[in-house]
Amino acid sequence: MKEKKYGFRAAVCLSLLLTVVLIALMVGSYHISPFQIVQTLLGSGSKLQNFTVFQIRLPRIVLAVIVASALGVSGGILQGITRNPLAEPGMIGINAGAALFVVLWISAGTTDYYSTLPVLTILGMPLLAMTGSLLSVGLIYLLSSKSGIRPVRFILTGIGVNGGILAVISFYQLSMSKGDYNQVLTWTNGSLWGSNWNYILLTAPLVILLIGAVLFRSKNLDVLALGDELAAGVGLSVPKERLLFLLLATFLAALATSVAGSIAFLGLLGPQIAKRLTGPVHGKMLPMAALISSILLVGADVIAKNLFSPLEIPVGIVVSIVGVPYFIYLMIKER
């Protein structure tokens, strides 16, 4: 892939993202024209416009971009280390582990709602989600290791663990009050409802740090994707590197899940589309995957918010409905 072509495609995607963001800022129960949005962003909007843009819509969009980037990169890593284009944090139980812990926390804890959760809870969520997803990855790792980790076995075990965790979650869901239940539903299906600047302050630095670390070592990921023998031949310590990248992918998925719940298929769509645009080199592919996932999630959130307005559906559902047909198409095409 030539540098120039890559730059051009990145620019197109970036402008696409900006367009979607603009639409997301405009549309809603209170409609704002593009001109007014520019005015508001420049600091001369009315009080109502200021509030809508800065306190409600912008944090939501920024959070969507953060979450989507984390999931896109996480999916890209997993597809690299398992050498399977269908690997995805949502389907192999990583998101589910995080969601389980958050659900346990919600059901054990308060009857308060999302926005009024105490500060400690907001701070604790990402930590809790990371613990949960780490445990579930550890479980998958243990169960699938038999004279080393085989990618296919890893994924299949992940699907099984995912099913088990979902059953446990559904048990807690059913024994909950209706208010708690709806709160949990947004977690298990993924939603950006109730996002505010606190979440962003908490997750943004970590996500940026982790993505930076991944990109810094992305050459090793390229080598890993070649296959175990080749990678070992080049002098890479395969088990160590694979574990490292697995951990990075897990943390990224957990961070995303901790603020937006379990959004499936986004980690599949982003990297797969990106790969078609940039080729397989991870240093270029992963940023593109983050970009594409962001476009998809911001767009999906606009649909989730407005399609059945005033009712909002979890954005994860919209992503799945778009993602699954693509997934099936990939499976039928790829052999």
Binding site: L143, K146, G160, A167, F171
Partner: protein, 327 residues
């Protein structure tokens, strides 16, 4: 092997019988066995007799039917796909039916019990066709990992759509019960429909046990013996669809039952589907009856979804099978 089969059958019948009696006996109010007997043969209008006839009995019979049929469906699916992990709930068939039933529950155009059954059939048929298209297409699509990934994707898809439907109809917690599976809606109508429609196709399916035996040897072997594997597969899927459809419409999405029951039976008596299918049916019934007793009593007066128990038993078996994957 022959002796094993006899022992297993005798034990299964005994267990099922004990389970059936226990299921009628145990509940929010324990009914003594003598009164159960009276409710059958000397019916009076007492509360206990009514309880037995109108509540406990249909529920127990539904558990017997649904458990047996789901486990039979799993056995057949594994036979025609030559894949130990194939199962209606893993492949997305029951989730398709769940979606259709949730649409029926929310909208008014197909309401009522019969509407549920009709929609369940429709949904199961839709996802059955998808799977058929997928597995018939290419030989490479029959590998375990691909079938599993496709099934997981399909079930996620159907359940996502079902959640949208439920959210719009403000029924999401009810849907969660559908998704997890439970027998609390059991009544005589459900028993009758499941027994009639499901029973008919189950018997048809039993008559194909010999053919499934041949197919499970491999497509080439089957063709060599003068049997068209494609035709048999198509027929079996056609029988599977109504069986799964009525089961989901009556009892929700009870997962993994068709995975671990046939697996255990297969370990004990081998791969002969002529014995495997009836025994899977028998033990599927037994396990669902027992699981339903547990679901009703463990956190009484609340009812747990019975699918939770089948998942608890099924997921470990699933993981064990996956561990055997070579790649």
């Amino acid at each position: 092997m022959k002796r094993n089969t006899i022992i297993l059958t005798a034990a299964g019948v005994l267990l099922l019988f004990a389970g059936m009696i226990m299921s009628v006996h145990i509940g929010a109010k324990n009914i003594p066995v003598s009164e159960i007997y009276r409710a059958f043969f000397h019916y009076d209008d007492s509360l206990n007799a009514k309880l037995v006839r109108e509540v406990r009995l249909p529920r127990m019979l539904l558990a017997v039917l649904v458990g047996g049929m789901l486990s039979l469906a799993g056995t057949m699916m594994q036979g025609i796909m030559r894949n130990p992990i194939a199962e209606p709930s893993v492949m997305g068939v029951t989730q398709g039916a769940t979606l259709a039933v949730s649409i029926a529950a929310v909208s008014s155009f197909a309401g009522g019990i019969y509407g549920n059954f009709f929609m369940g059939l429709l949904g199961a048929a839709g996802s059955g066709i998808l799977i058929l298209v997928f597995t018939m297409g290419k030989a490479s699509n029959q590998s375990i990992s691909r079938i599993l990934l496709a099934g997981t994707a399909l079930s996620t898809f159907f359940l996502s759509l079902a959640s949208v439907v439920a959210l719009l109809g403000n029924r999401s917690q009810e849907l969660a019960f559908w998704v997890a599976g439970g027998l609390r809606q059991a009544g005589w109508v459900q028993v009758a429909v499941v027994a009639a429609a499901g029973g008919f196709f189950s018997i048809l399916a039993f008559s194909y046990a010999g053919k499934i035996n041949i197919i499970s040897l491999g497509d080439d072997a089957a063709a060599g013996l003068g049997i068209s594997p494609e035709r048999i597969k198509l027929l079996i899927i056609l029988y599977l669809v109504p069986i799964c459809g009525v089961c989901v419409a009556a009892a929700g999405n009870i997962g993994y039952l068709g995975l671990f029951v046939p697996h255990i039976i297969r370990k004990l008596i081998g791969n002969d589907y002529r014995r495997l299918m009836p025994l899977s049916f028998l033990y599927g019934s037994t396990i669902l009856v027992l699981a339903d007793i547990a679901a009703r009593t463990i956190s009484a007066p609340y009812e747990l979804p019975v699918g939770l128990f089948t998942a608890c038993m099924g997921v470990p078996v699933f993981l064990m099978l996956v561990r055997k994957e070579k790649r």
